[in-house]
């Protein structure tokens, strides 16, 4: 059993419920023990840093201090939490003066951060600690022939935290392939989906999503997978808006990579939160059912 401190992120309880559920469901079969940080607070995400860059570091630091007590790597499945927490962590490790100021503030709650933590994305853990070979061993429903577009989004590979190439990453492809599925060519796999600006600038960002869906469809994908709750919500919930704006008829299910892994491991769709997907994931579920029967 590999031990980690776990930071689910706020969306794992709401818009990204499918992510939260599927991570919990695959942890045990994959020999990971994810212990949730007690009473964690929101990482602050992009908005906090945008309104007050320095204060956002303190908000993130409370979580780092809480996690450091346990001493294991801090793992989050949310790409935005990852960038925020890893960014704040890096900044504090590199700026001792700021760390001292932050600690002065944390002290009022009896906390201290020494700067020893490693913040990691779940995909990093799956690829580098658990390994695709190990996952392949555990697969019960091989997804042979299923054509999947691996969508990384921005935050998993940028800014550079050394996980993968920033423009043409491969980590997610490897996870898809170890399940037996085919990772289709997807040149836009690390382009931006619009992030949280879909709420404030929908007109300006629908086009970005359109290009992504178009590229995935043209390359023959039957579905997309992503680790990011924001990307998933955008491409899933706004797909009908894209269709309306660009006169298209995409019905591409957008799964969390952890949902796809869970299905291949033989975990029931319901426990993976598949019923929270808006574009029906039926194509994928039927595919598995038919393969199991035949």
């Amino acid at each position: 059993m590999k031990l980690y401190s776990y930071f689910p992120g706020c969306s794992a309880e709401s818009t990204g419920l499918g992510l939260g559920l599927s991570v919990q469901a695959i942890a045990e079969p994959l020999d990971m023990e994810l212990v949730e940080i007690e009473d964690w607070n929101c990482c602050g995400s992009t908005p906090y840093g945008s309104l007050d860059e320095e204060e956002s570091i303190v908000v993130a630091a409370r979580n780092l201090a809480l996690a450091e007590k346990r001493g294991f790597d801090l793992v989050t499945p949310c790409s935005s939490c990852f960038v925020t927490l890893a960014g704040a962590n890096g900044y504090l490790q590199e700026h001792p003066k700021m760390l001292a100021q932050v600690n002065e503030a944390l002290a009022v709650a009896g906390l201290e951060y020494q700067g020893s933590l490693r913040v990691r994305h779940l995909v990093d853990v799956l690829v580098n600690d658990i390994t695709p070979e190990f996952i392949a061993d555990k697969v019960r429903n091989r997804l042979d022939g299923l054509r999947v577009a691996p969508y990384y989004g921005c935050q998993l590979v940028r800014p550079q935290y050394g996980l993968d190439d920033t423009e043409f990453p491969r980590t997610l492809d490897r996870l898809v392939e170890c399940l037996g599925a085919e990772a289709v060519d997807f040149p836009l796999k690390a382009r931006c989906c619009g992030g949280s600006l879909t709420l404030s600038e929908e007109g300006n960002v629908l086009g970005l999503m359109y290009k992504l869906l178009k590229s995935a469809a043209e390359n023959g994908a039957q579905c997309l997978v992503t680790p990011c709750p924001l990307c998933q919500t955008n491409l899933d919930a706004y797909q009908s808006r894209v269709n309306a704006s660009f006169k298209t008829d995409y019905k591409l299910p957008v799964l969390f990579i952890t949902q796809l892994i869970g299905l291949a491991l033989g975990i029931e769709a319901e426990s993976l939160g598949m019923n929270t997907n808006i574009v029906s994931p039926r194509v994928v579920l039927d595919y598995i059912k038919n393969r199991v029967i035949t």
Binding site: M98, Q101, N204
Partner: protein, 240 residues
Amino acid sequence: MRGFLDEVKVTPGGEHILACIQCGTCTGSCPMAGAMEYPPRKIIAMIRAGMRDEVLSSNSMWFCLSCYTCTARCPRGVKPTELAHALESLAAQQGFQIGGTSTPSLYRSFVGSIKSNGRVHELGMMIKYYLSIIPELMKHPVATIKVVPLGIKLFSHKRLPLKSTKIKGKEDLSKIIRKFKEVRGKHVKAAQPDTSGYVNRATKNKAELKAEADYEWAKGEGNKILKRPGIEEGNPGIFG
């Protein structure tokens, strides 16, 4: 008063601005460049020209998606994404009114939710956000009405729970934030760029040292040579 450039330099994210060589890679890579009043490369030039009001009242940084493409591609390690965040926080803290985008309202609703619960309650945050931009919404009633089915879809798929989660340490978090404001207040007066990091990581490489030297030169000699009129103190004339 400190010059605008110095102010940007001491804000986390603004440290590397002097290393920019105005190559334009950032703007060329930016998916939102077309929507911004001033795309990333230009904003950097404007900051170095001391154009505080124009920069801080523009919509540019609020259009940034934080996609980090520019940061990954910049040949000089400038990190324009972080710079955009730094500019947003300067604009927000100095009370600049930004027209033509409701992103600041969105961010405020988001942070408000964190401050009152310790976590973001997405449904509450969205409602607060839409209420805060009613005048804006009235201008586009059709587009606004179309948002409703989307919310309902998320809701019916259990993705927008009614109940918010409040953390136990909510008070702690507020205390920490309050204390930090106080601590920072003490340090702000004597603010110098926090260069402790450069020493640690040895990122202040030759290129950056050269850029700083160039900057000092440009401020003094450079301006004299170019005889540019009306350039204020602290303005790196030839870079602007």
